[in-house]
Subunit: 319 residues, 2 copies
């Protein structure tokens, strides 16, 4: 059997890296002797919490917006997201000098609304349902001709997210394993494509909250399966695995671990305390897997993508 070609290839990630250069940060890679002692691995933390808008999403949004031809770009871009992708798309559109129209549920947190408005995004509020969200986006597209930039399943978004792993592996070529969390699958897919191309023998490990394990169930069963409504503290991972993500993860993953809510909160607090880095719960999911030894990577040199650092400091999950 010949496997079908993947929707994103390493050449797309290399092209993305060139396209977004100068618009997003080459984020630092942090090590911690103390964290290594506690977890029993040799960690390299790729700090996307220090990325522009505080999350890796700046990469994919810039790649998708900068790849548009001028005539298409002039009609603007649109997305539905209440999270980091909304801020990332607003920033990328401002970079390009075009309009970003963001469909957000009317109950979105004020901090997210503020962040989009500050970056020049034009918000359309809708009822907090998937149907209302898609209807609002469709109406904007019909009226303006704007291009929909899907938050995680757009191939250009996946390619952009893959530039984080590419930077990590070019700087740290001897990694034994690489880990990231899965929400919609954009980051994990881009990470897997980059890692397999740069270091073919690397162990590629996806991680997900037990309470939002639709991607794990899809990967395990071989059938893309929508999840139950997720109830996880990792707000960035409450989305459902996309089709392109499913295709890529099915082809490239070596391991897939799910972790408890308690482990996510404990891992998040541990990273704050030891590394002095503010990370969001989603970023703690691979660390939680290492804490629980799922999979056993004792002594290995492990790269972890710390996805972001956007948290409500008044509502910390351990307090």
């Amino acid at each position: 059997m010949i496997a079908p070609p993947l929707p994103v290839r390493y050449a797309d990630i290399e092209a993305a890296a060139v396209r977004i250069e100068g618009h997003v940060h080459h984020t630092p890679i942090v090590t911690s002797t103390r964290l290594n002692e506690i977890l029993g691995v040799d960690l390299r933390l790729k700090c996307e919490n220090l990325q522009r808008i505080g999350a890796f999403k700046a990469r994919g949004a810039h790649n998708a917006v900068l790849a548009l031809d001028d005539a298409t770009a002039a009609r603007g871009v649109v997305t539905h997201s209440s999270g980091n992708h909304a801020a990332a798309l607003s920033l990328a559109a401002r970079t390009r000098g075009i309009a970003a129209r963001i469909v957000m549920p009317e109950n979105a947190p004020l901090a997210k609304v503020d962040s989009v408005m500050r970056l020049g995004g034009e918000i359309s509020f809708c009822a907090p349902t998937i149907a209302a969200r898609e209807e609002a986006a469709a109406r904007i597209i019909a009226e303006t001709g704007a291009t929909l930039i899907h938050p995680y399943d757009h191939p250009m978004v996946i390619a952009g997210q893959g530039t984080a792993a590419r930077e990590l592996l070019l700087a740290e070529p001897a990694l034994d394993a690489i880990m990231a969390p899965v929400g919609g699958g954009g980051l994990m897919s881009g990470t897997a494509v980059a890692a397999r191309a740069i270091r073919p023998g690397i162990r590629i490990v996806a991680t997900e909250p037990e309470q939002a394990d639709d991607a794990w169930r899809s990967w395990s069963s071989g059938v893309l399966t929508p999840g139950d409504p997720p109830r996880t503290v990792a707000d960035g991972l409450r989305t459902t695995l996309g089709h392109n993500g499913f295709t890529i993860l099915t082809a490239l993953l070596d391991d897939f671990s799910t972790v408890s809510e308690a482990a996510i909160v404990e891992a998040m607090r541990l990273v704050w305390e030891v590394t002095k880095l503010v990370i969001e719960p989603s970023a703690a999911v691979p660390i939680a897997a290492l804490m629980e030894g799922k999979p056993d990577l004792a002594g290995a040199r492990v790269g972890v993508i710390l996805t972001g650092g956007n948290v409500d400091l008044f509502e910390l999950p351990w307090s």
Copy 2:
């Protein structure tokens, strides 16, 4: 009038930099577009929260311990501190392979006790008074011949702390101003000596909580004045300015700002939110001064030493 020679000169800081090389980190210098927008200055943050043991104190302790001759070192070192200096001295002594004896009040926070024990420091508990603390240290010195490494007024400690500003100014030679907080004065003194030597025209700005303003009162009046018992959230700044610190600050400071408790807490939260860096309240004191425009540094390129990141994540001052 000819000014007396200062107790620490730039040559001492250069020697310290050589001595501690490889034992402490060259910490990163972070910038933030968003923080610059909010504060109206062009900031360079020297991240001593990412230093070993989570604070700049690792620098001075290593310098003092590594400067001892072998016979003296073999008798060990001693200090009285319940804070970052205790952990720093324990680490430096372990590096040298000698004993560190730490006198701590019996009501010291458990996290501080744990940290010293993990680093191999031998703790002697005493009643929580200055008399009991000095008596305990004197007894250890009499019994063992250990050398007292004062937490902030020892010239080798001051010289070690000055290496942070030296690294910052060598990496960022065009700074208009440099800021740090004052507790016992070790960091601020070392910073002032390094800054004046490397960039003579730079504006050197000390900052202190209004609720612990003994150094400000000493500097303003020209007379070293012990303070009232300090009641500030900035736990690292509850100490009293030392004699050597007083001499150096009197000679070298351009400005001295004091800030309210509310401003410290707001500045700390702002830095966490925008930069994703965990900093302790003491580190937020210069940021609080910039928030309040004391002094007015609008548009200036300002270096700030972020002193450390050791905080109790269960007891955040804004929650």
